[in-house]
């Protein structure tokens, strides 16, 4: 089914390409401006939003009338307007589909009339090293600027919108301010979509990813981009090779860890050597050879595959070769206890007696700006980097106290902030639902009910009586203008 649709898509694209061959290509007809109103959740007050901001991105028109853009375009979007180059009219567009893991999205205009003057882009192929391309950036409301660029490097990098490792172009260009989903063209065909910029290098999604995304999208069930769930390390040291029985083999990487959710759990083990993936030999540094790009990290092989595909690994265990096969799972950045993203989604939180709890997420840490990995609170960063292992339970989360809404009820605790919750009423807490349930089972002392909330790692404890909680929370809702009663524990 998928193959058939792929062939149809290819034929359709070739037909379009033929039609364009006769006349000069007018790129302004194929590229549209997307004016996006975005609004993020206030990280410290997750019941409310931050100020709305407007940003502008580009997208390209596909043969089926949908607009291809990056997921970054639609992340936290509350309203999207589409505008053709040369037109003063803006029409509302809606999100059709997004995959934040691969940083690609599809939108479409609400009124199909907006598409009347547009032309579909022709999909090209992946480009080769040093090949010259053109990045198209909006000059004004009427024209696009063509910026010459050349492919300098192809590498696997973390997606801008997720934790997934993606193959990405590094295009050298003498222009700043790129990376807002500008299309990359070669000989009139789309060959990439920009995703970011680092000085003179613009990152762009190659056609490998775009075609994967589009063909998968055209299937009835989107299967997404998979991962192995295995941590692999280079195997350069001859001593390490001898220790694990790989001294006589050439190439291969060491299995450092098999994660709890890996399809290879029980099939691979620490110190196994992965010699080949999908029949492609892996070097000691973890690279495979691509016919056009040369040396590319083996994760690129997974970018080619779909969730549910069987992956075959050739391995070595204490000198003995073996083959292992397992169905791949679609990668989910939020599978770890510290959530990576939650674009446009409500931020799970709970206010108990003015203590604001939420799931620890990278979204929260990013409020410290571009250097957040250095300057965010070290307790939270340590949790992200060293206490964030995937567990067998998919919904395991790190719950922390964001801050305290000062009120006479929580007097004495108002300065507390950024504390990781260890236990509540003696129960370990690994989800907001567990926090809620634990609060519902208060500790009885001196004839009254209390909540005991203990924090890690130093063991500080908050002890608050349950008497008068409802009145206090109602007062806090008024004082802090919290209109979402469900934010509070025990309020309808």
């Amino acid at each position: 089914m998928r193959l058939w649709l792929g062939i149809c898509l290819l034929l359709f694209v070739c037909g379009e390409s033929g039609a364009f061959a006769a006349a000069p290509i007018r790129y302004e007809d194929q590229v549209v401006r997307l004016h996006v109103s975005k609004r993020e959740v206030d990280p410290s007050s997750p019941w409310q939003s931050e100020d709305t901001v407007q940003q502008e991105f580009l997208g390209v028109v596909l043969p089926n009338g949908e607009i291809l853009t990056t997921a970054n375009t639609v992340a936290n979007a509350i309203f999207i307007e589409m505008q053709r180059f040369g037109s003063t009219e803006r029409g509302e567009a809606t999100l059709v589909f997004v995959d934040y893991e691969v940083n690609l999205a599809l939108v479409k205009p609400v009124a199909t009339a907006q598409l009347l003057a547009t032309k579909a882009v022709t999909l090209g192929e992946d480009i080769g090293m040093d090949e010259s391309v053109e990045i198209f950036k909006g000059r004004d409301a009427y024209q696009l600027s063509r910026l010459p660029a050349s492919l300098q490097e192809v590498a696997v990098i973390g997606a801008a919108t997720s934790a997934y490792g993606l193959i990405s172009y590094a295009l050298k260009v003498q222009q700043n301010g790129l990376g807002w989903s500008e299309p990359v063209f070669l000989h009139g065909k789309l060959v990439g979509l920009t995703t970011g910029q680092d000085q003179n290098f613009v990152q762009a999604a190659p056609m490998l990813l775009i075609r994967h995304f589009l063909s998968d999208r055209h299937d009835q069930s989107y299967r997404g981009f998979p991962a192995m769930g295995v941590q692999l390390e280079p195997l350069l040291s001859p001593d390490t090779r001898r220790l694990i029985g790989a001294g006589s083999a050439s190439g291969g990487v060491r299995v450092a860890e098999v994660f709890a959710n890996s399809p290879f759990l029980g099939k691979l083990q620490t110190n196994d050597v992965v010699l080949a993936v999908d029949g492609v030999a892996v070097s000691e540094q973890g690279f495979v050879t691509h016919p056009t790009w040369g040396k590319v990290h083996l994760k690129y092989l997974l970018n080619r595959r779909f969730g549910g595909d069987e992956l075959v690994l050739k391995g070595l265990r204490q000198g003995r070769e073996f083959t292992v096969q397992a169905p791949l799972q679609r990668f989910d950045s939020n599978r770890a206890p510290v959530v990576t993203y939650s674009y446009g989604e409500p931020q799970p939180h709970l206010i108990f007696a003015g203590l604001v709890f939420r799931e620890l997420s990278q979204d929260y840490l990013k409020q410290w700006g571009k250097d957040w990995r250095d300057i965010a609170p070290s307790d939270l960063l340590f949790t992200l980097n060293f206490a964030n292992k995937v567990t067998a339970q998919a919904d395991t989360r790190r719950i922390f106290l964001v801050r305290v809404l000062a009120d006479p009820f929580n007097r004495g605790y108002t300065e507390l902030r950024h504390k990781l919750v260890a236990t509540v009423n003696g129960r370990p807490i690994a989800a907001l639902s567990e926090l809620r349930a634990a609060l519902a089972a208060p500790v009885r002392m001196n004839g009254k009910d209390y909540a005991r909330i203990q924090f890690a790692p130093a063991g500080e404890e908050v002890i608050l009586g349950m008497d008068g909680l409802a009145e206090a929370q109602a007062r806090m809702a008024r004082t802090y203008e919290i209109k979402t009663a469900a934010s509070f524990y025990g309020m309808p």
Binding site: T240, L243, D379, K448, Y450
Partner: protein, 513 residues
């Protein structure tokens, strides 16, 4: 126990400096007892710890306290290789040595080295100590600010008395007095007087706040002098307590413990296993009083008419003393006597002032211990530029079960390139957890495990990282001496403790490799 906020780290500076003229003042009554101290210091290298950094010249102030002794700050003479003292108005400096040095409270005692110098000093009138000054009372700071050749005096007012961080040590807190006078670099170690009585020793300031200085008050100075009376400095005790200050302000929290809102007290959250309070005080205890002084919900007690942190009482004790806590535990009111004694050996990520940091070099891999100095090799903004794991462990390792028993936190500080280590995985600044799968708690155990292991391969495992270092033992044995000779690594290890700076026990100069 926890770090002071980042901003404070930025702002606090010691007052040691290098020269600038000062106005001459009429200090005839005191000037004969006050010295300019000039120091040539050699700090150890932190990344190549068998070496010492180029000599640095600096100066501070000191004053005569009798018995041929001159009192100054520890940071003035830390890592000193040559010290002279020059009395205001004299032409020739006198060679001196560090007799006692207390890095935790930033105080040191100097003595002239030569008989003529001793004779000259013994003729001086010692300065006498007063008591803790009152808030808003005037004080005069005397010294050689900015390295000047003449004594200078600045007037100020006592603006705060608190229990605060002494930055020379990095993590130690003691009683201190804040004054709103311009204490400048070079004032370090100088007397702060009211009338003719010394009420403190100038020692640190806030770099970005004008006219804010800190002095070591006489209770801390007197404690230091009592401590060294037996010829040995044992240091301030560490209570090892993490408390939840202010929790009992909350009426329902107080009611939970059966207390009334005005009962006072602080809750104990954590007790360090190495502290003298371990096993005696427990998490969940309520500390109601210390030595019969009621502890408020703000964790403060009355002390000389001021309210200061209750830890002040414990901190000013000498080893061998006792502290009595009144504790509420499980509804019972207990009196618990805590013998004041040195903490058990444990990882302390303070400043290191030893001749050398503890280290071990194996196969060209330089392993050293985590310290504040080591973190400061990342520069002034080490608290954000140093690797996260090291920053975090510096402050919180005490709470982590993985590190609770560690004597040292061992860091791979450098790779001295050689064929034997050419292909080891990049674990630079990684923290060692185990050798050959066996947990490592100290540098001694680490060196021994690598030196005496018999397996074909030595393997080193790191915290939070699954990529281990594997080295063929035979190859390492054949290369160790060659690598060490090539890079001048002599010796290949330094396993002495913090006390090996000699001066700590009045034995300056001992303990060099």
């Amino acid at each position: 126990m926890r770090f002071m906020p980042m901003v404070c780290r930025l702002l606090c500076v010691l007052l040691l400096v290098h020269a600038a003229p000062a106005a001459a003042l009429n200090l005839n009554a005191l000037r004969s007892s006050i010295f300019k101290i000039q120091v040539i210091a050699d700090e150890p290298s932190l990344t190549e710890p068998w070496k010492r950094l180029p000599s640095a010249h600096s100066s501070g102030t000191g004053f005569y306290i009798g018995e041929g002794r001159i009192l100054t700050n520890a940071h003035v003479v830390a890592n000193a290789s040559f010290v002279t003292v020059l009395r205001d108005g004299d032409a020739a400096p006198i060679a001196a040595r560090v007799r006692f040095i207390a890095h935790d409270c930033d105080l040191a005692v100097l003595e002239p080295v030569e008989p003529e110098g001793i004779k000259a000093v013994l003729k001086l009138e010692p300065m006498s100590f007063g008591s803790l000054p009152k808030l808003r009372s005037p004080v005069s700071t005397i010294g050689f600010p900015a390295g000047g050749e003449q004594l200078s005096i600045t007037e100020g007012i006592v603006s705060r008395i608190s229990y605060h961080r002494y930055i020379h040590h990095a993590n130690a807190r003691h009683l201190l007095v804040q004054v709103d006078s311009a204490i400048n670099p070079g004032n370090s170690g100088g007397p702060v007087v009211q009338g003719r009585q010394v009420i403190g020793v100038a020692f640190q300031s806030i770099s970005q706040a004008q006219s804010t200085g800190y002095i070591i008050p006489t209770p801390v100075v007197r404690r230091f002098l009592r401590d060294i009376a037996n010829g040995r400095y044992e240091g301030h005790p560490d209570d090892g307590l993490t408390t939840m200050d202010g929790a009992l302000l909350n009426p329902s929290t107080a009611a939970f413990y059966g207390l009334s809102p005005d009962s006072g007290g602080v809750t104990v959250a954590f007790v360090s296993a190495w502290a003298p309070t371990a096993t005696l005080i427990r998490p969940g205890d309520i500390l109601l009083a210390i030595d019969d002084q009621p502890i408020g919900v703000d964790a403060k007690v009355s002390y000389s008419g001021e309210r200061v942190d209750f830890r002040t009482i414990f901190d000013l004790k000498l080893m061998g003393d006792k502290v009595v806590f009144q504790v509420l535990r499980d509804g019972q009111n207990l009196k618990i006597e805590v013998p004041v004694k040195p903490s058990l050996p444990h990882h302390a990520t303070d400043h290191i002032y030893a001749k050398h940091p503890r280290y071990f070099v194996y196969a060209g891999l330089v392993f050293t211990v985590l310290s504040r100095n080591f973190l400061q090799t990342w520069g002034d903004r080490w608290y954000r530029d140093a690797p996260l794991l090291l920053r975090y462990l510096e402050s919180d390792a005490v709470y982590l079960p993985d590190f609770a028993a560690n004597r040292d936190i061992i860091v791979l500080a450098k790779r001295l390139p050689d064929g034997v280590n050419a292909y080891v995985p990049n674990q630079l600044f990684g923290v060692v957890r185990a050798v050959d799968g066996k947990t490592i708690l100290s540098m001694e155990a680490f060196a021994q495990a690598l030196s005496t292991g018999t397996g074909e391969f030595a393997t080193i495992q790191f915290f939070g990282n699954q990529d281990q270092i594997v080295l063929g033992r035979a190859k390492v044995l054949s290369r160790n001496a060659i690598i060490n000779a090539k890079y001048g690594v002599v010796p290949d290890r330094w396993l002495n403790g913090a006390s090996d700076d000699g001066a700590l026990h009045g034995t300056e100069g001992e303990g060099r490799p």
